[in-house]
């Protein structure tokens, strides 16, 4: 494998008495989309949030592009790491344009650069120009999620973290956004980590898959490897569950 974007070393984390990650060591490949798949409570979101310092491991360390995530420099490091969550997490008091461009404005980008990048993203995600001054409450779920992706990519981060961004959408909208997501992979090369409980979404959108079960890595490999050679009943069960579809 080529270079990696995130390296986890000996990561342990517990909430209260419950240990949810048991000394995990693994890395995630750069310039690819990697899906972390697992049931609710398997620790997948926690792993993701360690990459941008929202969650601090009890033991071990996380490095992004070879620099260790620590409290002193994490604010600056986050500018290179996009983040989008289930339910979009748009700021309700800001318009679509303000939501997407807020960070660029705070980073003192020029007006022209902001406008260009904004236009580019709106086109990429097929968002209508009329939405510019609308507030999040008046957008559909799909539109909100697209705006959230635009916001995450505004600063052209080399790494994008996606925490179940599509799981709250209806199946039709989800299919459309999946297609746009694939287009986005083509348009801008970057490392992406997608957390999902849906194995079919993982195989459709990612090149690499990490299956997580009870805080341990059950299987890690390319999509083809996982599909053709599931390591355990758990992995197989994830395929079956995904096949029934869930909203």
């Amino acid at each position: 494998m080529t270079s990696s974007c995130i390296e986890y070393e000996e990561i342990t984390k517990s909430y209260g008495a419950k240990t949810i990650l048991h000394g995990l060591t693994f890395s995630i490949a750069a310039n690819l989309t990697t899906a972390i798949v697992g049931e609710s409570g398997s620790g997948k979101s926690t792993l993701l949030q360690m990459a941008n310092g929202l969650v601090v491991p009890e033991k071990g360390q996380v490095s992004v592009f070879s620099s260790i995530i620590n409290s002193g420099s994490v604010t600056a490091q986050r500018l290179k790491i996009g983040y989008s969550v289930q339910g979009a997490g748009l700021f309700p008091h800001l318009s679509v344009f303000q939501n997407i461009t807020l960070m660029a404005t705070l980073q003192k980008w020029s007006d022209a650069d902001i406008q260009n990048r904004y236009q580019q993203l709106m086109q990429l995600l097929e968002l209508d120009e009329d939405l510019r001054d609308r507030y999040p409450f008046s957008l559909s779920g799909g539109q909100q999620q697209r705006v959230s992706l635009c916001r995450a990519m505004m600063l052209k981060p080399p790494l994008l973290l996606l925490d179940e961004p599509f799981s709250a959408l209806d199946p039709v909208t989800r299919d459309i956004i999946h297609a746009e997501f694939l287009k986005l992979q083509q348009a801008e090369t970057r490392s992406m980590v997608l957390v999902t409980h849906d194995m079919f979404e993982a195989t459709k959108l990612a090149q690499q898959i990490i299956v997580l079960c009870d805080g341990r890595i059950e299987q890690q490999g390319s999509v083809a490897e996982i599909e053709n050679n599931p390591a355990s009943d758990y992995v197989q069960a994830l395929f079956r569950a995904g096949g029934q579809g869930n909203a």
């Binding site: 949030q49 604010t75 490091q77 986050r78 748009l90 700021f91 008091h93 960070m103 999040p136 409450f137």
Partner: protein, 512 residues
């Protein structure tokens, strides 16, 4: 007179506190020709204070009228700390309430004790405003009685006394002991007793010997032939550093007003509906103390006086509320932002602020007198403390109820702490915080009416005076504008919300 707080414990407490505060805070009038006249909040005391004030004004003094203070302890502390230079007290109250001396001390003894506190008692104005037993003049004639001893042996007599009189040792229990009463009296509100006597439901009630109502109802005061009731002569209390000139002016009242005269003057206010100002002008002219001509300016028409008072009181009221609320915001908002993350600190602060809220306003104001004197300073501090709870609570609640996903996203996008505050936390908390400040403003406008009890002025002034005089129109002159101010504040904050907050943030739900 026994119309005010006589809680001795309170006095001891206040004095103890004042030891710490000491007289560093006390201030003297710099200008020898300026003087502050104080009064308690009942008819007679207002009137005498106004008489004193006008006497000083005619002698060329600038007079600061600090009228309507609630209770002996408050006004006496004000005198001691130099907030007030002179007011009219009663000898029985000086002995029992101020000096806590029940051994029937002589005037010399009292004066010696007062001097050690920087206070002096002047000669009596003349009247003895003590408790008295009273009944209809006609009925007294019918029974052929004129003394309390004669009343005590009347078998079929119905008596109704104020609750306080029934329980004070210098009231009913003492009467029973000294005069051998065997009848069973009933307790009733003092204001209702006169009406009860008028319609015949009771025959005898307690009264104050200078009560203006006595003449209205044709009542006779029975002679206290065993000299049981303590003496409550009206005496000016002054700060001992007062100049000879000022003392001379005060002494011009010595012996001038006896009980009948005082009753008649009180009646001019209570029964004839004249203002204190008018009656004082009349009195000084009648006594030849001041030529009536001088007073053309003082007796301006009632309406214009009412309006100018209204504006002045409203302005003071707004000033008190505005300063207190600004302080409340200046402290409550940053404090809320600083501590909301720690639930322990938040809880502790809310607990303390809540505790402040439970202290009755009057008690809090009284406690502040030794520390901050009287007037606007303690009033503002009290209002500030009352406004702190709603502001702090709404700020903490607003911050805690922000969708945690939004806080996480703001952090994850790479915003600094300041940026998170400026672009996410503050705008999202704003609607709730504004609601809290609005509540605080309305509470302050209401509570500020009580500030008049310690001479801070404002719309409470006509309310306090009106309560003392049982004058509804005067009460309304404070209550209506105060209510209007509260409504105005409500509208103002609505406007502010409209300017500062997007409409969907006020009514809509946060999208998830």
């Amino acid at each position: 007179m026994p119309r005010y707080i006589t809680n001795r414990f309170m006095l001891v407490f206040l004095l103890a506190i004042s030891l710490f505060a000491q007289s560093g805070l006390a201030q003297q009038s710099e200008n020898p020709l300026s003087i502050t006249v104080g009064s308690k909040n009942f008819n007679e005391n207002y009137l005498l204070a106004e008489v004193l004030s006008q006497l000083f004004e005619h002698a060329g003094y600038t007079v600061d009228r600090n009228f309507g203070m609630s209770g002996t302890l408050i006004i006496y502390e004000a005198l001691r700390t130099g907030e007030v230079d002179v007011y009219v007290e009663y000898t029985g109250t000086v002995a029992q309430v101020i000096l806590n001396n029940n051994d029937n001390p002589s005037l010399e003894d009292l004066n010696a004790e007062l001097l050690s506190q920087g206070v002096e008692m002047m000669s009596s104005i003349g009247f003895n405003n003590t408790y008295a037993l009273t009944l209809k003049r006609d009925y007294a004639n019918e029974l052929g009685i004129s003394t309390i001893s004669e009343l005590a042996v009347q078998p079929d007599i119905d008596m109704g006394f104020s609750i306080e009189f029934l329980n004070r040792s210098d009231g009913w229990p003492g009467l029973v002991e000294n005069y051998g009463f065997t009848q069973q009296p009933v307790g009733m509100d003092h204001g209702l007793a006169y009406q009860a006597i008028d319609d015949g439901s009771i025959d005898v009630t307690d009264a104050y010997s200078t009560d203006g109502d006595l003449d209205r109802y044709g009542l006779l005061i029975l002679e206290d032939n065993l000299n049981f009731f303590p003496r409550y002569f009206g005496v000016p209390l002054i700060r001992s550093e007062l100049s000879v000139q000022a003392r001379t002016i005060i002494n011009s009242l010595t012996g001038r007003i006896d009980e009948t005269r005082m009753r008649e003057l009180n009646g001019r206010v209570l029964l004839d509906g004249k203002s204190f100002n008018e009656v004082a002008v009349e009195f000084l002219a009648e006594e030849g103390l001041v030529a009536r001509v001088d007073n053309a300016n003082a007796s301006s028409t009632g309406m214009s006086v009412m309006w100018s008072n209204l504006w002045r009181n409203t302005a003071v009221h707004l000033q008190l509320t505005f300063i207190a609320l600004s302080l409340g915001c200046a402290v409550g908002l940053p404090l809320g932002f600083a501590i909301y993350r720690s639930s322990r600190l938040s809880r502790a602060m809310l607990y303390i602020a809540g505790l402040m809220q439970t202290i009755p306003s009057i008690a809090l104001l009284a406690l502040f007198i030794p520390l901050f004197g009287i007037g606007q300073t303690p009033a503002i501090i009290a209002l500030f403390l009352y406004s702190l709870l709603p502001i702090l609570r709404s700020t903490i609640t607003a911050l805690l109820t922000i969708d945690p996903v939004l806080k996480r996203v703001a952090e994850a996008l790479g915003m600094t702490r300041v940026q998170q505050l400026r672009h996410v936390l503050v705008p999202l908390a704003l609607p709730n915080v504004l609601a809290g400040v609005k509540t605080a403003a309305i509470i302050s406008i209401g509570t500020a009416t009580l500030a008049a009890f310690i001479g801070a002025g404002g719309l409470g002034e006509p309310i306090v005076t009106g309560l003392a005089l049982n004058d509804t129109s005067l009460i309304l002159q404070g209550a209506i504008p105060a209510a209007c101010l509260a409504i105005l504040a409500e509208l103002l904050f609505e406007l502010l919300e409209r300017v500062l907050v997007k409409p969907h943030m006020l009514v809509g739900q946060l999208p998830t």
